[in-house]
């Protein structure tokens, strides 16, 4: 057998497996090794065990690498499309940079700076705008006026928006190594963490206010009993009437929602049944078995990021470095995977050089890190 035969051979055997399970086709011809695989998979519920075995591998975690690659490409495309003035400016900057001595270049290489305020805004027309920290400008969409100012986008519904039912969607994408704030047309405040994306209508119409989230965000929803606010993620749906909470889909196997104030209803996409959350509770949706559980927690631990603090409480090194990687836009490499489970607790400042953070972890756990370019190696 050749590698190219795998696809066809698999089809053939799968068909026979189904024949046996349904009792419709008991034929079991085929060469020795094929029959062996088939029988082995049917015996002792092996097929079920194999499905369980695969559950520990979350493809979303793997795919996030591709998402990052896509980001790089998108930024590049928008940059190319941007006006020549910027290009000329960059060329000048690069030349100026070259004139700096080696000494300075060395400093640049060894510091990995924390995230800053930047994001990519996609308008309903499909047009893309890069939002940085410094600039402030205004433009308008159908039914809404958009104002960008010091790390924040603000939507304000215009007079005509009430009549204009069919308002389009905008998407705000925050890359790794960045964060951004947003005020929606209804006054709801959203703070997006690194590597996150929110899709929302330019102005709200109809009964429900619906937004779509990937990644992590803090919401302060403007009160409006008549128009419930929904946060939709790939795994969970959250129904709100006016409250503050944090949603994080970045977890390796779970999506976490923490309620800081008020009351919300939450349901997993698979379950359909809505659970009522109380203030101070954490809802954990487990992607592997599709279950949702509630428990009381220290809310600050989950929302500290928006005040510029990393708050770790017996988190594993793998989880911690995953979060640092998003914020500092670095790659993590483990020399051996048994270091991944080591736990660490502490409060660290999010706006500091990554070295300081890693040094603190080294001091308390003894684990050494090596930073080379944008790669952090765990030794």
């Amino acid at each position: 057998m050749k590698w190219e035969d795998i696809d066809k051979e698999a089809k053939r055997i799968v068909f026979q497996l189904f024949g046996k399970i349904t009792g419709e086709n008991m034929e079991s011809s085929g060469e020795g090794f094929r029959q062996e695989i088939r029988d082995e998979l049917l015996a002792e519920k092996q097929l079920l065990h194999e499905a369980d075995r695969r559950h520990k591998y979350d493809y979303r975690k793997g795919y996030s690498r591709i998402e990052r690659e896509l980001w790089r490409r998108r930024i590049l495309r928008v940059s190319v499309a941007a006006c020549g003035v910027v290009l000329i400016g960059m060329v000048a900057w690069l030349f100026a940079g070259q004139r700096m001595g080696d000494e300075q270049a060395l400093v640049v290489e060894t510091t990995v700076l924390p995230g800053s305020n930047h994001a990519l805004l996609q308008l309903s027309s499909g047009e893309k705008v890069i939002l940085g920290n410094a600039e402030s400008f205004k433009f308008s969409e159908t039914g809404s006026e958009i104002r960008v100012d010091s790390g924040m986008v603000v939507y304000a519904a215009t007079e005509s928006s009430a009549k204009n039912k069919a308002s389009g969607y905008n998407t705000l994408s925050v890359p790794r190594g960045a964060e951004y704030r947003l005020t929606l047309a209804d006054g709801t405040l959203v703070h997006l963490n690194a590597g996150s994306e929110l899709k929302y209508p330019v102005s709200f119409s109809g009964v429900a206010r619906k937004v779509f989230l990937k990644g992590e965000a803090w919401f302060e929803v403007a009160k409006d009993v008549v128009h419930p606010f929904y946060v939709m993620t790939e795994d969970v749906q959250i129904r709100v009437y006016g409250t503050s909470f944090n949603v994080n889909t970045h977890g390796l196997h779970v999506t976490e929602t923490v309620l800081a104030e008020g009351s919300i209803g939450i349901s997993g996409t698979g379950t359909g049944q809505e659970l009522r959350m109380r203030t101070g509770q954490l809802a954990v949706y487990d992607r592997v078995d599709g279950t949702m559980s509630l428990r009381d927690v220290e809310v600050r631990e989950y929302t500290a990021w928006k005040e510029g603090i990393f708050y770790f409480d017996d988190d594993t090194l793998e989880e911690i470095l995953e979060e640092l990687a998003r914020w500092y836009d670095v790659e993590i490499f483990f020399h051996s995977s048994d270091k991944k489970g080591i736990q660490f607790s502490g409060h660290l400042k999010r706006y500091e050089d990554i070295r300081k953070i890693l040094n603190t972890i080294t001091e308390s756990t003894g684990i050494e890190f090596e930073i080379n370019d944008r790669i952090v190696t765990v030794k």
């Binding site: 799968v14 189904f18 399970i21 349904t22 034929e27 695969r54 493809y59 795919y63």
Partner: protein
Amino acid sequence: MDTRVFLEGINQKSGKAWKELYRYYYAPLCSYAERILGDAGAAEDCVQECMIGMWHKKEVTFEDMKSLTAWLYRSVYHRTISILREWKVRDHYRQTQEIASEDEPVGITMALREEIISQFYEVLHRLPMQQHNILKYSLKGLTVQEIALQLCISENSVKTQKKRAYQFIREQFDESLLQLLLLMAFPEKQITSDIL
């Protein structure tokens, strides 16, 4: 997703197609690498390396599913073998890894087994809810009578649903493959259209 659209998306590096690629192949490739390396963490790193490598290779394009499947399993296989060699050198080589997988045919058969499991669940998930449940119970070893009790339906409808499920599955596999199967099942007989 339609196979042609999917392959085009893979070749042109579209996010949607690549997400689908990860959804279908990531866990089985990891499980495959874990079988050879005996370490889940190393397996994941190895698979990621191969898939990211594929992303960055401009010259690699795929015409059909068989070459895509082959490419992925083959590159994960070769990567695991070189990792095993590195471990051997670094004296990290674990005793349990005394496997014959340096023998390529063994590697291919192991890959075939993973792909069977993937395809099996892919088809199983496409079945209507009740048929899906009935087949899952059958897999767990429940008899027709026990399934009927579990689902509060008659034994007869369990049997009918099983039949329907088989019909549905038959339609999922294309005709050419069915002919091939029938040829294997009845090598002596002439294939006539009424058998199909």
